[in-house]
Symmetry: C2
Subunit: 435 residues, 2 copies
């Protein structure tokens, strides 16, 4: 976090053989070969994913051998100048939930509030962080991949909690990481329900205020690509929008933001357009200040020999299963070269759209694809305004606005209506193309 | 199955280190040391339990290395003259459910009826059986440990099915085992809801007619020990009762019966009484004809370092976690010596209690602890009658009765009322002792 002008480019590591089930057949040579193919793209960091039930199969058994394997993986990455973020609680990956037997069925206990479960999660994160602390290249821990998914519908069997309890859980998990590795870049990561879903217990304030950076996962299959088309402004600026939206909620004007997951999902983004989507997404995100880095999802395609993945999950890799670069991989490698060594931060955004969420009945939904706030921000973007976002309650705090470089405030009511679908290359609400 | 007079004595293998999580850290030397301690008791067979999500983590990935480890385990047992039954689908073990991610939450599909799940189970059982076929000491496959638990309440999240569909599923699973190992002792195993629970989709007819033997799991924590006390007739004869009850449902009069699980659960059977319980249970079961063998639950205690097991599960071992024999282990070893080489089958049971279940509204409940049929059978036993059981619809089939050696039929109405609690050393309904 000490070199804010050096934009980091990395990838979420999906093992080329056996996907995350590779932990069951851990083979460091296979891992090394995967890392060689990632390093060849010129990337600088990885995000890696232990599987919780394999690492902690019993509440009081954290397998030493699994920890050793994780450490050897981090060291292998470091040897290739790849630094590593480690996600603890998986939890959820690509439609599959990996939850230990001691949290399910006869042992069903809330993942967020049961004292024994939460204490065991703390211990697990502490043990992982302790084992990794001091290893060169270890960045820090992410509490888990989108654990927020387990807290609310549409999960088919959620553990409901309140925002207050979610807050408490996040603080405890982050403290557990810090207790093991005091200087780590410890963060938490939710999916975009945090920003878009009414009544979701994980909130924008938590995302923007807890942990060492604000973490964002930007997925245009959330309705954006369907509604605005693969080349629509909203699609190509979705990640940048989340970055700016999140910055409104941060207390510190220059809190770092990490675009920790972003990818080009087919068919919403057709395979032939993946490279262009990657270029546009990176360029638009990199035009936001205080961006720590961009971590693409994902490194390697999922083998078609593995069943039951949603169709879009198979082909998200920058590399094929046999470790050859795909067009999006080449595009990201080129973008990394171009953006990483830029001498300065991008210019501050002088115009900010005011988010008056607290006074709206609809709450977060206005920020979601199709929402008024979302579309107003995109309309300003199309007009070339490079909009930031400011919360209404901070819109009279001149010191704050000055620190952020904001000189002009715009309200939703002042923004021209969004153009009709097709008028600017956008698509209609069904996602079908208007030539 | 060719030596019906040689009663087999074995044990359900619970690894002394890491319990069934040992598959994640498979160590053949540890396994060998466990098997040495079992062989030292003079036992002749094991039942072993792969964990399904570890062996088949993706629907189309059955891990070759896991299969190799299983084969090496079977070979290690064989080197110690221990033959091995392999259960496929675990499934359920000691209160924990181990279900692959591809059958849960976002991928929730019936374990018994979804075409893709069932086909994958078939493939899994086929692959296991194929790998083990021809290995000395391999007995056969059990479809899975008490998969019937997943079909009905009290499971907290069951996959309900009909008896017809359960029948179809069992036939497919058994056929898959046979396709991999044509000469194996392939069986299926349910818990005692099969015999006792109204409307349970797994039925007595399936238990007694599908597979190479009728398999029984006898657990007196099902209300029997609580109601009749640790030394009550019903407690010491519970296994024998299940054997005789099951024989009523078999088409072939001399179909083998395997008492595949029986154990001494504390506190229902106090630790100090475990050896006496084992001796009595074995003696009473061995007094039934056509018994193939007795397989105690379990080999080694569960380490107290592992959390969340029901209290009774920790101390069921014949051996401690550091592989020293416990009193029940010594008792079973002694019983094995005494019973294994008996020259003949026990004498046929001349008196049979007629089970008129089809005409009863209450169905199976009459057979359960506290039920009229259950208590009538126990009353006859106390009177020294050595009762068998015959279904009402076969009670006029003289050839059948002759083949079974049955000369006298008794109906429930003819049996004296069960004695008052305490009158014969039994306990009252709360399980408290009457001195």
């Amino acid at each position: 976090m000490n070199e804010p002008t050096k934009l980091r480019f990395g990838v979420n590591y999906t093992p080329s053989r056996g996907w995350f089930h590779h932990w069951l057949d851990f083979d460091l040579d296979e891992v090394r070969a995967d890392f060689d193919s990632i390093a060849a793209l010129g990337l600088d960091h990885l995000r890696v994913f232990p599987l919780w039930p394999i690492f902690q199969p019993n509440r009081t058994l954290i397998r030493p051998r699994a920890i050793e394997q994780l450490v050897s993986l981090v060291d292998a990455a470091s040897e290739r100048d790849l630094s590593v973020q480690v996600d603890g609680l998986q939890g959820h990956l690509s439609s599959f939930d990996f939850l230990p037997a001691w949290t399910q069925t006869w042992h069903r206990r809330s993942l967020f509030t049961h004292p024994e479960v939460v204490a065991a999660q703390e211990e697990y994160l502490h043990v992982l962080a302790s084992a990794l602390a001091g290893h060169e290249g270890f960045l820090g821990m992410t509490v888990g991949n989108e654990m927020s998914q387990f807290a609310s519908a549409p999960h088919p069997d959620p553990d409901p909690i309140t925002p207050g309890l979610a807050d408490r859980w996040l603080r405890r998990m982050l403290a557990a990481c810090a207790s093991g590795a005091p200087n780590g870049l410890h963060v938490h990561a939710g999916y975009d329900a945090t920003w878009y879903q009414e009544d979701h217990p994980f909130t924008p304030a938590q995302a923007a205020r807890l942990g060492a950076a604000t973490v964002l996962h930007s997925w245009v299959f959330n309705g954006t690509a369907q509604r605005y088309g693969p080349t629509g402004t909203a699609t190509e600026h979705h990640a940048a929008y989340l970055i700016e939206l999140s910055k409104a909620w941060a207390r510190e004007p220059h809190r770092p933001v990490w675009l920790q997951e972003v990818g080009a999902p087919a068919p919403q983004v057709p395979a032939g357009h993946a490279a262009a989507f990657a270029e546009a997404t990176v360029a638009n995100a990199a035009d936001c200040t205080d961006l720590w880095g961009i971590t693409w999802w994902c490194s390697h395609d999922v083998s078609r020999a593995l069943a039951d993945f949603p169709e879009l999950e198979y082909d998200l890799g920058l590399l094929t299963c046999d470790r050859r670069p795909k067009p999006a991989g080449v595009a990201l490698a080129r973008a990394a070269v171009g953006w990483r060594e830029r001498p300065d931060q991008p210019q501050p955004r002088r115009t900010a759209l005011v988010l008056d969420q607290n006074r709206r009945v609809e709450g977060r939904l206005t920020c979601a694809p199709g929402g008024t706030f979302f579309e107003s921000w995109m309309a300003l973007t199309e007009d070339g305004a490079r909009p930031a976002v400011v919360l209404a309650e901070r819109s009279t705090d001149h010191d704050y606005l000055t620190e952020r470089g904001i000189a002009e405030l715009v309200t939703v009511g002042q923004v021209r209506p969004i153009r009709a679908a097709g008028a600017s290359g956008r698509r209609n609400a069904t996602g079908e193309a208007h030539p």
